[in-house]
């Protein structure tokens, strides 16, 4: 079933992607054809005003070939319009009379003879590496000369390139979304109902006729539910009748319950049980969508904050800009333990919905922000809702996967998170370039509201199970864990630096620096997308590799060094490509070094983990780790204020380097001691 589903998803997604690629291809071709006339429009005004001057000279009796100072005049016009690479006046026969062009330009010389002008209209045609816009100069209805304006075709080409990047980004994201959506649709229409059907028939085969199939979302395979329920009902009614007859004859027991008849089980009237399916794919789509919507602002959030900064406060600008991100991360981290407990009490459906609605409200209010203070407040609200959804999805997946598949479940959870995050960052960048920051936030809010609807429709609350109920994190647990040096080393020298690099560099500095370098939000979103793409693409295989190799600590150390190295890439290439490379390498570093961290905790801190329980240890580890999320923007902000962007990147790099070195030194030493102890007497 799963295989079939995966194949279906693969097939449909490749069809969707293929169709989209074709469509984009045609659209780009169309764009390339339509662009020259559009470009000509941008120089039309210059062309007309220049033509008018030459025409008035003609009207005053100065023929085009006798124009005095024409080259100087054309030079002036060219300098006033940097988009123009050359201007020329040609006779009606096509001979160049006057011209102005950039002598230093590395290009073939301009033609001496021009094509005969079109008598009537301004026209644009490709001329070697140029777009040449020809304006006929008229006097008394006669064309007396032509004016040629040249625009470098590479300007057009770079625009086409920029657009094709956007199209490519949309393609990647659309493919990801299509995959997620298909998975969801298949889960709702095929996988869910058929696994229920399987369960239903299996029970019937065992002689258990007490269960019914749900009728709520009867789509696809689920359409069988109603007739099956009908038969089930008939069987039960018949059984009931038989039983009543038996009782009337005095052959049945005195109690009211329908007993098993010949080993078959039936339900009493109005006491039926409806079977429920809790496939993890049900939560995957709404979760993906919420992460997507929240991530729309990733590529421009620091810039949005910057608008509300006032130098009068006497606080460094960079610190103020970092603050809302830090506070968001802080509230997010703190809300999760509490939200987890609450979610277990009220059920996943309700917790998810409430979280999504709070997120929606927070995003709407963020769009309407007036000052930095209310911005911080709305971000806290959003963080709270986001935390609630995050922890609910996590717990839904944990609750609905058998323990043997829990690791896989978590991998799915993280894959959804990063896929949503990278898609959101990329699309948000493109969107904000076109509709502005506030409307992008409104879009986020609407998507969050949609998420709430999905959750309401497709999630259902499993009865709270004692087995999965979480324990409150007690201070004794914290103390126990923090007394364990290995736990402290893993948390503070590996996990926290990784998060500092994530928020300090990726979420905070990178958008600011890319803007500083003159990039638009689309480019920033694209660059940020690289991180998520690498994580989604690499981390499962690296995790498998780490499991096979076993030496988790080496992975963590290598991850730390790669992260440090990525921060120094900017030294070799100080431009958008350099930043994108740094982001990519940070993604590689985190793919290598982040997921083995938790395994390392359970491996090296067995005694203390046993003492507090794995769940609690994980919770505390995550909570402390998120401290890095909070610190990241503040550290980066202070570094930028003091040493500039590059200084900040190097600073984060040095931090990662020092931590990775201390980390490996510690584990090297303890391994040495271990060996010594076992080898010794």
């Amino acid at each position: 079933m799963n295989k079939l589903q995966n194949r279906l998803i693969l097939l449909s997604t490749s069809l969707v992607a293929g169709a989209a690629i074709m469509l984009s291809w045609f659209a780009l071709g169309h764009f390339e054809r339509e662009l020259p006339p559009a470009m000509a429009k941008t120089v039309a005004v210059v062309g007309q005003s220049t033509a008018k001057v030459i025409e008035s000279a003609y009207a005053a009796g100065v023929p085009p070939e006798s124009l005095v100072g024409a080259n100087d005049y054309l030079d002036t016009v060219r300098k006033d319009n940097p988009g123009l690479d050359y201007l020329a006046i040609a006779s009606p026969q096509g001979t160049t009379l006057h011209r102005s062009d950039n002598q230093n330009a590395n290009r073939p010389p301009l033609p001496i003879n021009w094509a005969a002008p079109d008598q009537s209209l301004v026209s644009t045609q490709r001329l070697g590496t140029y777009f040449d816009t020809t304006t006929p100069l008229r006097a008394e209805g006669q064309v007396v000369a032509t004016l040629h304006l040249g625009q470098r075709a590479s300007i057009v080409e770079s625009k086409v390139k920029e657009l094709s990047y956007d199209v490519l980004t949309v393609l990647i994201v659309a493919t990801l979304i299509a995959m997620e959506l298909l998975r969801f649709v298949l889960a709702v229409s095929v996988q869910g109902p058929s696994s229920l059907l399987h369960d239903f028939l299996h029970r019937a085969r065992q002689g258990d006729f007490r269960h019914y199939l749900p009728l709520g979302n009867a789509v696809g395979v689920g359409r069988l539910n109603a007739p099956l329920n009908h038969w089930q009902n008939l069987i039960n009614e018949r059984a009931h009748q038989i039983w009543q007859r038996l009782r009337a004859r005095g052959e049945a027991g005195a109690d009211d319950k329908i007993p098993a008849i010949a080993g078959f089980q039936f339900h009493a009237p109005q006491a039926s049980v409806i079977l429920r399916d809790s496939a993890i794919d049900y939560v995957r789509w709404p979760f993906f969508l919420l992460i997507f919507s929240e991530s729309l602002s990733l590529s421009f959030f620091p810039l949005y904050v910057e608008q509300f900064f006032s130098p009068e406060w006497g606080v460094p600008r960079e610190l103020v800009i970092g603050l809302p991100i830090s506070i968001f991360m802080f509230v997010w981290a703190l809300s999760m333990p509490w939200a987890g407990l609450w979610g277990d009490r009220v059920g996943h459906r309700r917790a998810f919905m409430v979280g999504a609605i709070i997120t929606c409200a927070g995003l709407l209010l963020t769009a309407a922000t007036q000052t930095i203070f209310d911005l911080v407040l709305w971000r806290c609200m959003t963080a709270f809702g986001y935390g609630l959804v995050f922890v609910t999805a996590q717990s839904y997946i944990a609750n609905n996967t058998p323990p043997s598949q829990r690791t896989k479940g978590m991998a799915i959870f993280l894959a959804s998170f990063f896929a949503g995050s990278l898609s959101g960052a990329a699309i948000g960048g493109i969107l904000s370039d076109r509709i502005g920051y506030p409307l992008t936030f409104v879009t986020s809010a609407l998507l969050s509201a949609g998420t709430a609807l999905f959750a309401a429709r497709f999630l259902h609350s499993a009865p709270p199970s004692a087995q999965n109920a979480k324990r409150k994190l007690g201070s004794a647990d914290f103390k126990a864990l923090l007394r364990n040096p290995k736990f402290v080393v893993i948390t503070f020298l590996a996990a926290i630096p990784a998060k500092i690099a994530l928020t300090g560099f990726l979420y905070y500095s990178a958008p600011l620096y890319l803007k500083f370098l003159g990039n638009n939000q689309s480019a920033t979103g694209r660059a940020m997308m690289a991180y998520g793409l690498v994580i989604v693409g690499m981390s499962p295989s690296i995790a498998r590799l780490a499991d096979r190799f076993g030496h988790q600590r080496w992975f963590v150390a290598v991850g730390g060094y790669v992260a440090a190295a990525s921060m120094f890439l900017i030294h070799f290439r100080d431009d958008a490509v350099g930043v994108a490379l740094a982001i990519t390498f940070l993604g590689i570093a985190h793919s290598i070094g982040v997921s083995p961290q938790l395994a390392l905790v359970s491996e090296f801190c067995q005694d203390v983990v046993k003492e507090v329980g794995l769940g609690t240890a994980t919770g505390i580890f995550r909570l402390i780790e998120r401290l890095g999320n909070v610190l990241g923007p503040m550290i980066a902000g202070i570094l930028i204020a003091k040493f500039g962007f590059k200084g900040a990147f190097y600073g984060i790099g040095i931090l990662c380097l020092v931590c990775a070195t201390l980390f490996s030194a510690y584990f090297q030493m303890s391994a040495y001691k271990e060996r010594h102890r076992t080898a010794g007497p």
């Binding site: 001057v53 008035s56 000279a57 005053a60 100065v62 006798s66 005095v68 100072g69 005049y73």
Partner: protein
């Protein structure tokens, strides 16, 4: 560089609600008949719906008549006097430092127009405000701007200038021209019109000066804002053209009517509109004339006589066509 006075004075473009009031009485005192300046003055008031009753007096270049006008003004008591040119204005209001002010009009506001140099003519001590019952406008274009305009037309090394040394305006203009030429590194050849007899210089005197000047082969001749030169411009320009030497004029008329090649000028019509704007400030807005600054236009007209250009085969650089006003008339 076309001057649009309505736009410049746009701040007062709303019509004044004085339609039903008794019309203002403005006495136009003219020296050599109605010019474009008076047309501009009257049309501007009309376009602003200011009801005006005009009393027009023309001296016809006869200084004797001015005395009568002053007496008449004292009897008629108009709301405002408009006076044209330096000579007439000086006769009506006298110099600001005159000890005996009784021969002059002091109790009726005066707006003068087409006065090249109000300070030099001692009408006012400074341009920021007259301190008298008097304000006005000047058609003067700053000399450095004129010379730049000349160079834009044609790069020259030798410039000739002809002027009447009896006119204070001319002497002042020539002083400024000397300074501007020094900066632009242009050799200046001066040719004052020297009189053989006393009184006004005659045409023979002028011919002498012109011939002397042309003998030194200047590349262009500058005609200052000088009544004698303007009146006799034809006698300078024709022989100069025969010697293939174009004339660059400080005033409109020689270009429009006498075949001077070009000039950067304040159009009389626009200066007239500007004067009307000052009149409105006094009559409608009740500002004290003593507080109203005396101003020149800050945008000028570049006039080119294409007839002359074609005759000489000296075309202006194409960039000048962006703003130049083309005159295409033969000399009248």
């Amino acid at each position: 560089m076309q001057m649009t006075a309505a736009g410049l004075f746009g701040a007062f473009s709303s019509p004044y609600a004085v339609a039903n009031a008794a019309p203002f009485r403005i006495m136009l005192m003219l020296y050599r008949g109605q010019t474009e300046a008076e047309k501009g003055f009257q049309n501007y008031l009309k376009s602003r719906h200011i009801p005006v009753e005009y009393i027009i007096r023309d001296a016809n270049e006869d200084k004797q008549k001015i005395r009568q006008f002053i007496d008449e003004a004292r009897t008629l008591r108009p709301d405002l006097i408009y006076s044209f040119g330096t000579t007439l204005t000086k006769a009506i209001v006298g110099p600001y430092d005159a000890i005996d002010k009784s021969p002059y009009i002091n109790d009726i506001p005066v707006v003068f127009n087409i006065v090249a140099d109000p300070v030099g003519a001692k009408l006012v001590p400074r341009l920021s405000a007259s301190g008298r019952n008097l304000t006005g406008t000047s058609h003067l274009v700053p000399m450095p701007a004129q010379l730049k305009a000349l160079i834009n037309f044609k790069t020259i090394r030798r410039l000739g200038a002809i002027y009447n040394p009896d006119e204070a305006n001319s002497l002042l203009a020539i002083e400024q021209l000397k300074r501007a030429c020094l900066i632009e590194k242009i050799e200046l050849i001066l040719s004052p019109v020297v009189k053989k007899t006393t009184g006004m210089p005659d045409k023979a005197d002028l011919n002498n000066s012109v011939n002397q000047l042309l003998a030194q082969k200047p590349e262009m001749i500058y005609l200052p804002s000088d009544s004698f030169i303007i009146a006799n411009a034809r006698q300078i320009i024709e022989p100069a053209l025969l010697a293939r030497t174009p004339a660059f004029s400080a005033t409109e008329a020689p270009i429009r009517q006498q075949g001077a090649l070009a000039g950067l000028v304040s159009r009389y019509y626009n200066v007239g509109e500007f004067a009307a704007h000052k009149a409105i400030e006094i009559l409608v807005q009740k500002k004290a004339p003593s507080q109203i600054p005396i101003e020149v236009l800050n945008r000028f007209s570049y006039l080119i006589n294409m007839q002359t250009a074609r005759r000489l085969g000296t075309f202006p650089p194409v960039a000048i066509f962006r703003f130049a006003e083309i005159v295409d008339k033969s000399p009248v």
